[in-house]
Amino acid sequence: MTISLPVTVSPRLSKKASRHLKERFIEFLLFGAAAISVFTTVAIVYVLVKESWNFFQHVPLSDFLFDTQWTPLFDDAHYGIMVLLSGTLTSSAVALVIAIPLGTIIAIYLSEFASFRVREIAKPFLELLGGVPTIVYGYFALTLLTPVLQILFPDLPGFSLLSAGLVMGIMIIPYVSSLSEDAMRAVPMSLREGSYAMGATRFQTAVKVVMPAATSGIASAYILGISRAVGETMILAVAAGMQPNLTFNPTEPGATITSYIVQVALGDLPHGSIGYQTIFAAGLTLMLMTLVFNLIGAWLRKKYREVY
């Protein structure tokens, strides 16, 4: 009996050169694609740091961190980032109080309770919610939600962190729910069966077994939600009123880091002036915050990886 070789293999081993060249080329393309994103990130950080550096030549870091006023455009200029930070944190907190519980509940429902049919209908709607342009949410907050809230709280001003934050929460729900649901659905069926076999109910199984097993994915979903909240711009620019206001009271108007940046970027401040450079310092602050959240997320993922 003769041994026949598969047709694609030549009977004699050839030099590896040609295949090698092709693979090198593919590798180069892939590397190029990866390099573009790395380069962009580095360039952004470079610009932010450089412009912020110029800014901090004029404004001491201690003023930036501890001053309680933010009036860069006034004659008596103050640069207390705390003021913008309070707006960002307050509106984000309102948004997350809505988005995290609701997003989690929706994820539990879709992953553990909903029938195939319900899931197939509900998911596109949720995705649609995430695809609505944020400017539309902003006007929704301003023209619909705020008047309704004013019926409940007559003292609520026309612009408020509350109204913007609530709408922002609705916008973030699909980010939280979709990632959490993916994480929960990835939990192997054998783990659920183990729980049911012990006499657990569906709800007990979802909360006591599936969620703990999906911790790392759910944490990622929350971190993404937080990052979206902190970085959201248009809703706040439209509905929260852009007055810098050191407050943690959501029923007041306020400016956030992001809404301040659009305000200045759209204004007619001369490039290179200190007033203009404030947006780079503010941007750097925002980026550092997001970086911290991402690091926390990476740490959580590592800590809870492969629990099943």
Binding site: P188, E193, G194, S195, A197, M198, G199, K208, A213
Partner: protein, 275 residues
């Protein structure tokens, strides 16, 4: 409480080794089961005796797991599965546990299960074992501690883990994980434990310790075990059933099934002349 139904049969088979007639724990009666349109169990009749080990053997795909999973209503978890006739009468209730008006959760609280692949929860060793108690609403800390300890002792795992109860269950070795799953199943004092090839993912030493454990457990609980390992079935079970293509071909005292099978098909399978 499970409601009584009218299916009753007298006890027929005789006990191995002793003269005392075995007591019925459950009885499968004319059971039909479908996965969608696939007829997976065809008119199965089989007793399970109290505090005895009953094994199910047969070629891959013959329906052993399917039959086992009827006992704790695991099939209810998936749409399309259908109990299509007959039932499983649980004693002493004398109730068909597959009946529509029986709560599957109540069935699972009394009939526990150990799976083929160890599947500890992403929790500590202690919480893994306490799970079946917690889902029943037990809160008292010292009571939980006592029950967890005695379940771990019952599963011959206590000495290995008593100093590391706070560690994740997944940190244990495969054999230890399987014994953890047995402890988990034992903690709530079930009447019947179902084992689906519990040693097929384990090495010979871990397998031997699980086998020893199963034989100890039958002092206090009825056991139904699916196995591919003929020697294992012969070593540990009191009764054995041979299944083929969704039917129970032969059932009897293990020694008799292995030494003097009544049916040619059973003999062929046991002596390896199958297929």
């Amino acid at each position: 409480m499970l409601k009584p139904v009218t299916l009753v049969t007298p006890v027929t088979a005789s006990a191995p080794g002793d003269d005392v007639a075995p007591v019925l724990k459950a009885e499968v009666k004319a059971l039909d089961f479908y996965y969608g349109s696939f007829h997976a169990l065809k008119g199965v009749n089989m007793p399970v005796y109290d505090r005895k080990v009953t094994s199910l053997i047969g070629p891959s795909g013959c329906g052993k797991s399917t039959l086992l999973r009827c006992f704790n209503r695991m099939h209810d978890l998936y749409p399309g599965n259908r109990y299509a006739g007959g039932g499983i009468v649980l004693q002493p209730d004398n109730t068909n546990l597959l009946s529509d008006d029986v709560d599957p959760i109540e069935v699972r609280m009394r009939i526990s299960m150990v799976f083929q692949k160890p599947n500890p929860f992403p929790k500590t060793i202690f919480e893994n074992v306490a799970y079946s108690l917690r889902v029943r609403g037990m809160r008292n800390k010292s009571e939980l501690e006592d029950r967890v300890q005695s379940a771990l002792k019952g599963a011959a795992l206590w000495n290995e883990v008593k100093d590391r109860l706070g560690e994740l269950g997944a940190n244990l070795s495969g054999g230890q994980q399987q014994r953890l799953c047995i402890a988990r199943a034992l903690a709530s004092d079930p009447e019947l434990i179902l084992f689906d090839e519990p040693t097929s993912a384990l090495d010979p030493i871990a397998t031997a310790s699980i086998e020893e454990l199963v034989m100890e457990l039958k002092e206090r609980v009825s056991i139904l075990i699916v196995t591919h390992n003929m020697q294992q079935a012969a070593r540990i079970s009191d009764y054995a059933g041979y299944m083929y293509m969704g039917e129970l071909i032969e059932f009897g005292v293990t020694d008799q099934i292995f030494i003097k099978p009544q049916k040619k098909a059973t003999e062929d399978y046991i002596t390896g002349r199958f297929g």
